[in-house]
Symmetry: C2
Subunit: 337 residues, 2 copies
Amino acid sequence: MNQMADEPSAEDRLIARYFAPLATHPGAFGLIDDAAAIAPPPGCDLVLKTDGVIAGVHFFADDPPETVGRKALRMNLSDLAAKGAKPLGFIMSVALPANNDGKIDEVWLKAFVAGLGEDAKLFDCPLLGGDTDRTPGPISVSISAFGAVPHGAMVRRATAKAGDCIVVTGTIGDAALGVRLRYDTSLAQKWRLSEAMKAHLKARYVLPQPRNIIADAVLKHASAAMDISDGLVGDLAKLCRASGVAAEIDAGRIPLSEAARAAVAADPAAFEYALTGGDDYEILLTIAPDKLAAFGADAKKAGVAVTEIGRIAAGQGARFLRDGKPLAFTRPSYSHF
Amino acid sequence: MNQMADEPSAEDRLIARYFAPLATHPGAFGLIDDAAAIAPPPGCDLVLKTDGVIAGVHFFADDPPETVGRKALRMNLSDLAAKGAKPLGFIMSVALPANNDGKIDEVWLKAFVAGLGEDAKLFDCPLLGGDTDRTPGPISVSISAFGAVPHGAMVRRATAKAGDCIVVTGTIGDAALGVRLRYDTSLAQKWRLSEAMKAHLKARYVLPQPRNIIADAVLKHASAAMDISDGLVGDLAKLCRASGVAAEIDAGRIPLSEAARAAVAADPAAFEYALTGGDDYEILLTIAPDKLAAFGADAKKAGVAVTEIGRIAAGQGARFLRDGKPLAFTRPSYSHF
């Protein structure tokens, strides 16, 4: 019998079943072409970012599969938000280990894709293409996200100026405390956390809340910005180095959630975890004092809390003061190496 | 002593030392920002592709590190070439395992980056951004490459027409035979290969030769195209399915290198390996008969061999004929699943 070779391969069927439904953009060609094609908005720059997650490194292998793709996408969306960019879409590489039976866990995959699809809609950021591989290692999801800003307008790290106010969105340190709770369940008692507080901290690690809703306001008002992904202390230091400036932070003004406040009140060490742990996915921005009120008004309209925590100054180094005294940190920033 | 938190992290130093020198495009901001920004050429569509390699899956762990990044980049460049797109740049996620001493193998990394940097220059495709992680799994390199085509002009898979000529670039099957030689060294004798032939086949697996030099000619003349990465038989079947057409190939016209011809002459099974194995990274294109001569002339000028191997017809299914008799294949296409 002649093999006509016209049956789709198992890989093609996997793509058609699970990933093609997310590829709603016409330029994704339903994922049956080699590549996607999109027409960038006229007069815009394309903002490009890649970030990803590896099981056991950026998420726990037993995290709900619905959240794994969402976290990977949101990590990238958070960068686009901090750059003032509107999402256009993303491409994704997924490496999946086989089960003992040599097959991919399609139950996991189905839930993974369902979560990712929800977020693609929620953030108006469709899947444009991808690559699916089998791996002898852990599950790994790498996403490249694209956004648009008016030409030359991407909000950079390197443009903070002495005298600018330093502002953060949301609350700081929840995810870092949440991940500590995952590793050491006894901390919940030490930190005197209610069930709701525990759930809040853990949820902030599992599913970041990127601030894309205020990307326009960041674009309009910020002098410099970055997303906080490796801890406020280290990330502010990066912004200062890139801009060639110093920063002075009033640590008492750093916004903490009720759960984080409880932890810090019970255990002073929790404050350092909160400020130096990763996974906040809030925006750190600098802003000229005369624009602060307008930015605050835009953020309020969008329902995003923003807090001024300090000032940019001439010089170098980011100092954190509490009641006027400098704080020291043993490990200022999350680093993979 | 007050920790000023203004020292770069180990991760930042790794990026600055090894990756920043490749980020020559001004929009990469020397890799010190969260994201890159590029101004797409006016009137162009952006062509997006992602593909990658995992040690033990797409390359051998003992392959020269200089070739690993080059292969990952060239896999993507090959897709851009088949789509008629001019490369603009790429972003990359690298996951590296730690050595026994808990450190990254910087000797490997240095060589990896040196190879990648050569290719970034050679193909005028600069590094725009990246993400570096430590992994408990094997080395993995995921690349997203961007190219540009005039608006609406990306050469697709779905647009082949009955009557079109079917053309391939270069030679088919070398990499598939090269990888068989890696797994079973006794084949070299069975296939009566000279040392030069062995080296040729192995090199074609380790370092693909994407045909970006004729991307313009593909854009100008092809009715449909794709790159051949999962084997000619399976990839032609994909093109036929996407276009809703049939194909008839004269298997005797499929271009083989001297080494592949030797293997096939000694071992008929080698012919199936050559046609159904992966990693060719040649271009499969269809072209209206009246444009064939002009395409051939452009390809000749560029120094790329092109061979007409068959015709597109109405109907469905891709048939391979040898001396008028249909060939059967046991496993028509490489699939990861």
